[in-house]
Amino acid sequence: MSESAIEVAGLTKSFGSVTAVDHLSFSVDRGEIFGLVGPDGAGKTTTVRMIAGVMRPDAGTIMVDGVDVVTDPEAVKPRVSYMPQRFGLYEDLTVDENIRFYAEIFEIPRKLRIERAERLLAASNMLQFRQRLAGQLSGGMKQKLGLTCALIHAPRAVLLDEPTTGVDPVSRRDFWRILFGLRADGVTILISTAYLDEAERCSRLALLNEGRVLHCDTPASLKAKMPGAMLAVISPSMRDARDLVAKLPGVENVLLVGDGIHIHVDDAARRIPELTAALNAAGIVFEPVRQVIPSVEDLFVSLTEREEKAA
């Protein structure tokens, strides 16, 4: 039983002309938190669905806990838990009723269910909401309830598809605390996310883009591939700001984001005063330059640009 918890090889899935997942290969070790990171449409959901056995791949193999998911999807279902990106519980059932339903489907003895529900709800600060309809919970609480239901049958592996998107910071912290607890119990966790700060908490990451794995490594090694820092400038004349900043020394690249620009620089401490001076000199209106956590997009742009330069 030393093989990987999840082993994916050559996984491919197309929808018409769109190849959502393209010869994807990676493996997840037992008891690790493995992150699937990628921008919208990278193929995260499709990958997780195929591993959960709810979607058939066009090609490739998936082994979960020694079970071949492609040939026998039903065999994997009692062992893993899947938490879809879209809330999948019954909004017209209460927290307790949802938990009970999933516990019964997985044939969990009553005593065990009561005990686990108590513990899981306590861990996510949800005990006082047990009688509330799931539809009346906040976004964060919904996700925590989803996780509770997913964990009620003590699965060997948990597959979470963007579980914290749109979740408040407090709930997010609860969520991750539970995940770390699970890892300590030896549960394998596969989580997809579009947040890089979350990705950093994973033991390993696969960076996904257009259905392919760009990099698969620990967060530290991935970050090492993107040295320097990310600065943000909010400005009404962001295009002018971009054109100006792009020519300055120490700037690797500039990206338009929402209401401003993200600037990848080699050294934050040295470049912030230089940038501020240059923008002031050009008469551009802007809010103070600050350092930000690089987003997944930032990481992708800088990694793909580096690859292009190297080529």
């Binding site: 669905r49 059932l93 489907i105 044939e107």
Partner: protein, 378 residues
């Protein structure tokens, strides 16, 4: 199959039905309203069919036959005519839908050969009314005599096929008061049950797809059969309540005589309900949007039940190429069984054929529905 999972689905579905109070009330009130609507609607349509008479014999026997037409509340005798020319005029002007012509040798032949015929001349522009009027005329005529078989034959452009006397006899025999409501109401029960039953389940799977709960459900070890049975059971309970309402309205409101046993009635109703619930479920499994599923279920149940079960059009008057199709219409068997149980008091043994067919139907549609459900998002 794990009973525990079936029970979990029953509880979950039951809670959802209970909390969706509006749909529940509609599901329970719908049969009431439809029974009354269709029950009265049908009666209005068929009462007081305009009839003209042309008695070419004017004997005591012929007059007595015509009195039967006058006495029947399903006919309103508009004109008493005295020539074929006036018959044509009356029909052309739309004064009546049907004209009964008694030939000059009517009672003579009846006396000599024990057989005789009268003519029914129909305005066939409205096929439906014509068919219904013919049916009534046949009933009146066979009601007229217990011992003598009468036949009629048509003349002119619109003709009436010589009806099989036995089927005529059967109609009147068990419905002495010639109250066609007694025939119609069991049909209304079948129509309402087909509609309500299939509508109940037609949304149950598509709702899970639309609300996004199916994705999680298919990732669990639940089997297709467990899901189906768990989902059908609560609706079965509601369906049985609805059936009780419908049958109660038939007996106590419309006064249809009930001569059979409650056990037989329950058996055929349970079978029919399983068939229509399974059809609704099958549609729900196949069509992923609630609106689409509900409409397809409506078409699949209402259309054949209204058109091909013998409810609107008597099966023996259907064109030859359509009649075989009616054997495929499950409501036909429930309709037959209901009429027999109500009016003849038939038991399980008499009804072995419709019961067998409904049993096969239930098994076939149920299996099909369970198979049709794929635990997959593809």
């Amino acid at each position: 199959m794990k009973l525990r999972r079936v029970r979990a689905v029953v509880v979950k579905e039951g809670l959802q039905i209970w909390r969706d109070r509006r749909s529940l009330i509609i599901a329970l009130l719908m049969p009431f309203m439809q029974m009354l609507l269709l029950g009265y609607g049908v009666n209005l349509d068929i009462k007081h069919v305009a009839v003209c008479t042309f008695d070419r014999e004017n004997s005591q026997t012929s007059q007595s036959l015509l009195k039967h037409f006058q006495a029947s509340s399903y006919f309103a005798v508009k004109h008493v005519l005295d020539s074929y020319k006036s018959v044509t005029t009356a029909l052309d002007r739309g004064d009546c839908v049907i004209t009964i012509v008694i030939p000059p040798d009517f009672s003579e032949r009846l006396r000599d050969s024990g057989q005789s015929s009268i003519q029914a001349i129909l305005d066939a522009t409205d096929d439906n009314t014509a068919a219904v009027a013919t049916g009534y005329a046949q009933s009146v005529v066979s009601g007229f005599s217990d011992e003598v078989q009468l036949q009629f034959s048509g003349i002119g452009g619109a003709s009436v096929a010589a009806a099989a006397p036995l089927s005529l006899e059967a109609r009147v025999w068990y419905n002495e008061d010639l109250d066609s409501r007694n025939f119609i109401i069991p049909g209304v029960v079948a129509v309402v049950m087909a509609l309500v039953g299939s509508q109940l389940t037609s949304l149950t799977i598509s709702r899970e797809w639309e609300r996004g709960t199916m994705e999680l459900l298919v990732s669990t070890p639940i089997t297709s059969m467990e899901l189906m049975i768990g989902k059908l059971l609560p609706y079965f309970a509601i369906g049985m309540l609805d059936a009780t309402f419908c049958l109660g309205i038939a007996v106590w409101w419309f006064g249809v005589p009930f001569r059979g046993s409650l056990a037989t009635l329950t058996l055929v109703t349970v079978l029919f309900l399983i068939v229509v619930l399974s059809i609704g479920y099958l549609v729900s499994v196949t069509i992923r949007t609630q609106l689409g599923a509900s409409q397809i279920a409506l078409i699949l149940t209402m259309l054949p039940t209204m058109m091909l079960s013998g409810y609107t059009f008597p099966i023996d008057q259907m064109p030859d190429f359509i009649r075989p199709v009616t054997y495929l219409v499950y409501s036909r068997y429930y309709l037959t069984a209901l009429k027999s149980i109500f009016l003849k008091g038939s038991g399980v043994v008499d009804l072995w054929f419709p019961i067998l067919i409904m049993l096969l139907y239930a098994a076939a549609v149920g299996t099909w529905a369970a198979r049709a459900f794929r635990k997959s998002l593809d």
